[in-house]
Amino acid sequence: MTGMKLDDRIGAVASAAVDYPWLGDLRAENILRWVALELGELLREAEPAEYGRQHCFAQPLTPILHVVGGNTPHAALQSLIRGIIVGARNRMKLPQGGLPEVDEFSLRLPSALRPELAVQLDPGWAQDAEAVVVYGSDETVREFSQRLLPAQRLLAHGHKISFGLIWGSLEQGLVDGAARDVFVFDQLGCLSPQFYYVAGDSEGFASLLARRLEELCLATPVTRRGQEIAAALRGCREEWKFRAATEPGIVVWESAGTLDWVVIHDPAAVPAANPLHRTIFVKPMPSELGSALAPIRHQISTVGLHPVSLESVRQAIRLGAQRVCRIGQMQNPPLTWHHDGWPTLASLVRYVDIEGLG
C-alpha cells in the first residue's frame, strides 16, 4: 500500500501525465469517472460501501509486478498507472534496453508512488507479487505462469493482432485514419492494424494508403533503423517484391530508398506474417471472413471498422474482437476500455465482503 489516499493518487497521476498526451486524457475528473465506473465507491478508504445486502471494500493486490516488453512505452505506463490508482506498490521489470519514458514518468511521481524499476528480474519480485501483469510473447507469458502459485493473479497480455474491415466508399478521411493507425508507435502496439480487408477496390485503397503514409513520413521522418530490424524488413519487402513480379494480384508500394513504410496488396484471404514497423497488408474482403481469420481467432485485439454500424460491429464480435472502433481511432482506446477483455482496475483488486455491519 502506498499510504496515499485515492484522490491524492489520482491527482499525482494526472499531474505526471500532463506531458504525455499519447497516454490519453488523464485529467483527474476522467480518472475519477473511470474508477467510479469500474469500482463505484469500493476503492474509497473512508468506510466500506454498501454492496447488495453486505458491505464491501476493494483492496489492491499488492505488490504488483509488471513485466513489460520493448515494443512501446505505452503499455508499460498504462499498466503502471492502473497499479498506482488502485493503490498497489508497483515493481516493473523493464526490457533489456530499458524504457526511458517509464523512468521519466516515474520521476514525476511523488516518491511514495514511484515504482521499483529493474532490467534484471529480482526472483523475489515474482514470489512476493499478489498480481503479475505480463506483456510479451506467448513464451514469456508461459514462463511466468509456471513460476506463480495459484493464489497469485496473472494478467497475461500475450501477442495480439489488430486489423481493419472496410466497406463502402473510400473517402479521404478514411484513408487518413487508416494511415494514422499504422503510423502511430511505428505500428508496434497490440492495437496497431496489421492488415485491412477492403470490400470493393482494395488495390485502389492500397494505393491511396501508400500515398498518405508517404506524406506522413515526409512530415515526420523515420530515423535509420537498427540492422536487425532493417534486415527483417528488407527480407519481407524483397520477398513480396519477388511475389509481386511473379504472382497475379500482388502489388507493392514502398518508400523509395528507405524502410519507412511499405503497403502490400495481397489477394490471399489468410493474414501473412508481418514484421511491423509500418508494413501494412491490404486484402480484398474474403467471402468467408471467419475461415480466413480462424488461425488468429484467439489473438485478435482491436478491429477497426468503416463504417461503424450494428451490422459491422456484430460481424467483428463474431470474429473474436476484444475491442471494436472506428478506423482512425484504433490507437486511441478510452481510459475505460477493457484491455484484452478485462476491466483494467477491477482486475487489480480483491473484494473484501463484510456482513453484519448494519
Partner: protein, 342 residues
C-alpha cells in the same frame, strides 16, 4: 550452347581463374534470364537492363523465392534431380531443380580439395541419399563417401545406428571424417553420453546447420568442447559448412570465430538492409551470394542471414535475421530423430 556453358563452369571449377569469374557470371545471368521465365519476370519487374556491367549488378532472388516459384533455367521435362528445403516452417518447402548434377558434384569435390579437407574413412551422420532423395545434404555426403552405404549411420527411418557407429568410432586404425548436422552430433552425444573415444590425429568433424526452430540449443563453443571431450577432436579440427538447398556450393570455416570462406567460383556481398546497397566495409548486413555452380536455377541469392565482411577475406556469420522463420536441413534431421525417440 548450354552444354558448353556448363562445360566452361566445370573448367572454372577445376582450374579457377579470377579474371574469368565475371565474364562467366555475366554469361550465366544472360542465360538464366533467357531460359528462366520466373527470373526474367523478376528482372523486368526490377527494371534490370538486358546487360549488366558487373557481377555485383546481377539481380539476386530472395531465398524464399524457391518456396514460391519453380526457378528452373531449363525445360521441365529435362529435370534430373530435385532437392527440397526442410519445409518445417509451415510455409511449404523450397525446391531446387537440376538438369544435371555434374556441377553440383564438382562443386562439392573441388571445394573439399580447395580447403584440403580429408574425405577418407567417411562417417556420415545422415541418411544414405537413396533413403533421402530430396536432401541436398545427403547427396553431398553421397558424393564425398562415394555412395558407400556403410558410411551412413542414420537409417531410412531416422534412427541413429549407434552400435555400428560405436564400432566405427572405436576402430582406431585410421583418422576419420565425421560429417553431419550440428543437431545430429548433439543427438549422438545425448544418446551415447558416456562414449569417450580418442580419434586418430588427422580426424575432423564437419558440422552444418544450426539449432533454430528445433527447441534445443547449445552454443557453438559448447558443441565443439563436447566434440573434443567425447571424440578428442580439437576445436580447430571442427569445421562448419554454411550452405543451403538453394545453392550448389558451400562456404567453410574452422574453429571458433573464424570467417567463412568460399571456393573461387563463389562470391558474396554484404548488403545494408536499410538501403539495399552494398554495405560499407566492416558494417553488418545481409549476405548476398553469387554461385557459378547454380547454373540450373539462379546465380544470385539474397539470404536473410546477417554477416560482416572480414578484411582478410570471407565473412563472419552473425546469425539469422529476427524476422526470418526457422528453416534448415538440420532441423529436419533433428525432427526425424526426435520423432523416433518419442
Amino acid at each position: 550452347m548450354m552444354a558448353s556453358l556448363e562445360t566452361e563452369i566445370l573448367r572454372f571449377l577445376n582450374e579457377p581463374s579470377e579474371d574469368k569469374f565475371e565474364p562467366l557470371a555475366l554469361a550465366v545471368f544472360e542465360y538464366q534470364r533467357r531460359q528462366n521465365p520466373v527470373y526474367a519476370s523478376y528482372c523486368e519487374f526490377l527494371g534490370t537492363p538486358q546487360q549488366v556491367g558487373s557481377w555485383k549488378s546481377i539481380p539476386s532472388v530472395p531465398q524464399q523465392a524457391f518456396k514460391r516459384s519453380e526457378l528452373r533455367s531449363f525445360a521441365i521435362e529435362q529435370t534430373r534431380a530435385e532437392f527440397r528445403t526442410s519445409g518445417t516452417t509451415g510455409e511449404g518447402y523450397g525446391k531446387h531443380f537440376f538438369q544435371s548434377l555434374r556441377l553440383y558434384e564438382a562443386a562439392v569435390q573441388r571445394s573439399w580439395d580447395f580447403f584440403r579437407l580429408p574425405r577418407h574413412n567417411f562417417v556420415a551422420l545422415m541418411q544414405h541419399p537413396d533413403d533421402a532423395p530430396f536432401s541436398s545434404l545427403c547427396r553431398m555426403g553421397g558424393f564425398l563417401a562415394d555412395f558407400k552405404r556403410e558410411c551412413f549411420f542414420i537409417t531410412r527411418n531416422g534412427c541413429l545406428e549407434l552400435d555400428r557407429l560405436k564400432d566405427r568410432l572405436t576402430d582406431r586404425g585410421k583418422p576419420l571424417t565425421l560429417f553431419g548436422t550440428a543437431l545430429a552430433f548433439l543427438n549422438l552425444m545425448e544418446q551415447a553420453p558416456n562414449l569417450r573415444v580418442e580419434l586418430r590425429p588427422g580426424s575432423i568433424a564437419m558440422e552444418t546447420g544450426g539449432f533454430k526452430g528445433s527447441g534445443r540449443d547449445i552454443g557453438k563453443r559448447e558443441l565443439y568442447d563436447r566434440l573434443f571431450g567425447q571424440f578428442g577432436i580439437t576445436t580447430d579440427s571442427v569445421w562448419n559448412e554454411y550452405g543451403m538447398t538453394e545453392l550448389s556450393s558451400q562456404f567453410y570455416s574452422y574453429g571458433l570465430n573464424r570467417p567463412h570462406r568460399s571456393p573461387p567460383w563463389m562470391k558474396f556481398l554484404i548488403i545494408d538492409p536499410n538501403t539495399n546497397e552494398e554495405a560499407p566495409p566492416g558494417e553488418v548486413g545481409l549476405l548476398r551470394i553469387f554461385d557459378l555452380a547454380n547454373l540450373w536455377s539462379v546465380l544470385a541469392i539474397q539470404t536473410r542471414d546477417l554477416a560482416i565482411a572480414q578484411p582478410e577475406g570471407g565473412f563472419l556469420l552473425l546469425g539469422r535475421d529476427p524476422g526470418a522463420l526457422p528453416r534448415g536441413c538440420s532441423r529436419a534431421v533433428d525432427q526425424l530423430l526426435q520423432l523416433i525417440r518419442d
